[in-house]
Amino acid sequence: MKKILLVEDDQILLKMYSEKFQRNGYEIIVAADGEQALEQVDLLKPDFIILDLMLPKLNGNLVLKKLKENPQTRDIPVAILSVMPEEDEFKQLIESKDVYAYWRKDETKPSEIVEKVEEFFKKQEGKI
């Protein structure tokens, strides 16, 4: 079972996405702030990280930076899930494969997010 780390500070959204992913056969790890996110990555080594940007303690951008700096966590795929229309700013990071995708929380249904993650794993498996 694939492990998904959900980093989201809103409790209700966290509950919602967890429910959806669990129903679709994924194991969910949660983190409500940036520091917790890094701890969880260290501890539990997820297969995919869904990262919100606006987070208490350490914001999403810094979390991403730290993840990419650490050779142990560099290769874990990260998708940004945010309410901000900042996709263009992440374009370069997406092109350089540091970020897998940028999804708009308020424009994407939970089921669609699950679909996109499934797509990633399928692609990954297709290569292997």
Binding site: D10, M16, M54, M84, D88, D106
Partner: protein, 528 residues
Amino acid sequence: MKLSSKILLTLIGCLSISLVIAILVDQFLVQKILLVNLHNKQIVHLIVAFLGTAIPTALLFWLILEKIILKPIDHLTEVTKDIAGGFLGQKLVIKSNDEFGDLSKNINTIYSNLSKALQNMANSLRDERKKEVALAENFKKTEVEKAKVDAMLSSIGDGVIAIDLDKQVLLFNISATTLSGYLMSEVIGKKYNQLIKFYPEKIHLPTDDIDFSELIIDQIFSGKQAKSSFRANLLTKGGHKLPVEVSIASIKNYLGQNLGAVIVFRDITAEIQLNKMKDEFVSVASHELRTPMTAIKGMISMIFEGDYGPINKDLEEPLTDIQVSVNRLISLVNDLLDLSRIEAGRTRYQLSDISIAGLLKEIVTLFQPLAKQKGIKLELEVEAYQVITTDTDKIKQVVSNLISNSMKFTDKGSITISVHQKNDFVYIFVTDTGIGISTEDQKKLFNKFEQIDSTQNGRPQGTGLGLYISKEYIKRLGGDLWIDKSEVGKGTTFALSLPVAGSEISKKVLESFSKISNDKSAPSTLHG
């Protein structure tokens, strides 16, 4: 006749007359009247002859000489005395045809020349004095003007530095000292960037090899640019980085030749802080508003997907209505956030070169499922493959807005998007076979919060902001948005124009975002 001749004639004449008188006196006076019987008649005759000759001669001689010599000499003496005394009104009047006459003429000429010369000198002197007075007045005026300029320069809050063609500081006002920390005495006469260094905004450490202010000044001096404005960080004497807005312009003389340049810089710390606050506010507001709406929307979709168990049939309709309402709310919040950024001048633009055809293809593909659902034909006709320099997300937003509007108001038929190019512009037309817009409504359409009264025809409500926002974005990007044509019952065509990459207008748009970017390949985030 010469004087000597006159004198000779006079002498001869006098002598002659004297002789005659002597004879007469001798004959009548001495012999007859005196009746003297003299022993020595010869002596008497001699005495008479002598007296008779000498006295009249002398008298006559004296009389005539007085007329021909002494009088003219007196006249000469008098007049020349007057001339010597400075009275320049007299003239010699000796009309005789002799040396005195000539002398008189000559003296008159000398006198007249002298007179003229003196007059000229007096005139020149007068003119010189006038010039002096005028010069003194001008000097006074210049001093007054200089004092005014000094007063102006010391009272403006902006730093003003004037440099000559060697980039040496000629002028450094008080505000320049206040802002930079350097005294005028420390910079005057030296090359300005020995102490006054402007660094590009994003660079955090002073790097000696990036002195783009000097590059700009070189451009200005070589005539490639007349002026330039940019934001930079000024390194103060105290070692702080002061954010400033800098304007550099050339100083020219009346012939249009460069004399130097003037650098004006303004502290924008407060402005930057204010903008930061505005941006943070909008960011936080959008985050806070969108998060709960995402939750509502997400969970309704999950309810419909059965994630929370089977749904009571009766709940389907209300749940759908909630979904519709939340979607409207999300649209409205998005529009309001866009609007607040537009009003604050804080809209973020990211410019890059894109192929307009490719972009439209992407958008049309996204709308195909919806079009199919409604049974409407959605087509793209491309006649231009231009590259445009623009903000991709904004264009996506605008075109999507137009297409979804068309979708809303078209029940059957087609929606066609076509792309043409003419001169320096690319034109995009969105034509539908929908219900059309009346001329009345057309006038109001681009206003804030104006909508077609759709409650009556049961069409989904919009926000009334979409077209206003779209038009603002397009105009800022150098283009325009308008209704090409519309007929009630037949359909509508919206038109959108954008400048082609590299065109004059496109260049002006890039300039208008007034940002110095040393890396021209990276898309730049600009505010406007």
